[in-house]
Symmetry: C2
Subunit: 293 residues, 2 copies
């Protein structure tokens, strides 16, 4: 058995699904859940996702060999503060945050250093639902999980957390914190910003009723992601603000160039851009993991 006692801080879709997957594989003994909502936690016990719960993260991690932080990015620092001094010497800590630099900074701010047992992570998986009732053991199967060890992360810790995710059926990759944040800014955060900005732009037009009535083609797909959690995206934007604002600036320049090209009616150049986009998209689409977050 890989993990004797697992502490899940934040028992929702992400945390609950990890517990379920490890239970299904017979690789975890006891699971302790921690969260704020009593109802959700009791449901988690009833569903067999966790064995017991507490509202105190410091209490939850006592005696745990692995701690999984599945709280919003905006709650990471307080969570580190709550578990400080309560972690066992050999305890490993990992998380599921969509940005990694901010979580590493939060840990450093609280502990005064990078912990050898801390393995920052990002499972690229999700559904449109949330809460423990939405969790399921197969969520991470064939999904990519990116682990971003710091210079202080021990090889043993990295190996053990890699194994944990592989048991869940994930395809695990290691990369630097900064590289993760740049790659995700480009591939996930930027598209979400475009969708939010588009819907907001249209909503603020005078005839917005009519605009939305005639919205067609592609628009539904395009804006589906603008229904994502506003709080989660606020946290992601703040956590990864440098990479996101930098890539948005690059994109804005590309947009302005495209607007100029259209304004000039330069058909040859437009065709070149559109063909390159279609080729790239078609060439790479097979490699894209089809997940909603």
């Amino acid at each position: 058995m890989l993990i004797k006692r697992l502490a899940i801080i934040g028992v929702g879709l992400i945390g609950g699904s990890l517990a379920r997957a490890l239970r299904a594989a017979g690789e975890v003994g006891e699971v302790v859940g921690c969260g704020r909502g009593k109802e959700n936690l009791e449901q988690a016990v009833q569903l067999g996702v966790i064995d017991s719960y507490t509202h105190d993260a410091g209490e939850a991690v006592q005696g745990a060999d692995v701690v999984f932080l599945a709280v919003p990015l905006g709650a990471m620092r307080d969570t580190f503060a709550a578990i400080k001094g309560q972690l066992g010497d050999a305890a490993l800590v990992t998380d599921g945050g969509s940005a990694k630099g901010s979580v590493v900074n939060d840990c450093r701010a609280v502990f005064g250093r990078d912990l050898p047992g801390f393995v920052p992570g990002h499972p690229i998986a999700g559904t449109e639902n949330s809460g423990v009732e939405a969790s399921f053991a197969e969520l991470y199967q064939n999904r990519r999980v990116i682990l971003t060890p710091t210079e202080s992360t021990s090889d043993e810790a990295l190996q053990q957390i890699t194994t944990m995710w592989e048991i869940c059926g994930s395809d695990v990759t290691h990369m630097s914190v900064q590289h993760h944040d740049e790659v995700l800014a480009a591939t996930s955060h930027l598209p979400h910003m475009l969708a939010f900005a588009l819907v907001d732009s249209l909503a603020r037009m005078k005839e917005n009723d009519e605009i939305f009535r005639y919205a067609a083609g592609g628009f539904r797909d395009f804006t589906r992601i603008a229904s994502s959690s506003p709080v989660m995206w606020r946290d992601i934007c703040i956590a990864n603000r440098d990479a996101i604002s930098s890539i948005m600036k690059g994109y804005s320049r590309d947009m302005a160039d495209l607007a100029d090209t259209i304004s000039r009616g330069d058909g040859e150049h437009l065709l070149e851009i559109f063909e390159r986009a279609r080729e790239s998209r078609d060439r790479y689409i097979d490699g894209i993991t089809d997940t909603p977050e």
Copy 2:
């Protein structure tokens, strides 16, 4: 029977589906097809979509009471030139172009005036396939069709073309040419430009292999529309260049503001934008026609 002789200029998905729908309703006598590709036209005859064909648009419209122009926007002017002098006095002409100002201008440039029998139109329907083999009688059922009469369009012509589309099961609306082009720029053309620009931006990054490998969530949806026909979109951009470049400029400003807000880490303002976007999207999504173009 509404139409004795229908001429379809451009026998593909759009033109073929109109012929099929009118045939299925028993509201058309003879259908003459016109196009460049002999193979596609012979297939159209075999499929029973058209009765006969010619490669000469002027010949095709002789004796037709309704002419449907389903050629690319970039071919409209030449098509008007080809049918000039061949149209019967009572013949009605309508089209399926995604931009309307350019088609009205093309007609005016060729005929020296707006024709009383010309009813510019835009059926908001399509699939990812093209060619006559992709056409089907139900394509326009429950789809919106926007007709944009000019000041010269006769009431009878408008009424007859409205009836034609209603027979196909469409929900027909009338609006001005300019208003159509602004509304479509916002709801269809802009989203396509964002998708093309996004994929092109990512493709030009150094680590584009990796970028696409980690592209997740929403990205697949978002970029599906970047696989649309480059030639068609070049034509649309040139045809509707003023409305598109104007709305892109507005959107660029909104993007720049959003980037600033992120840069400043102004969580309250971010939350406000994201919540407004989600509410608008959820509120209006039911009114959106789910079509791919």
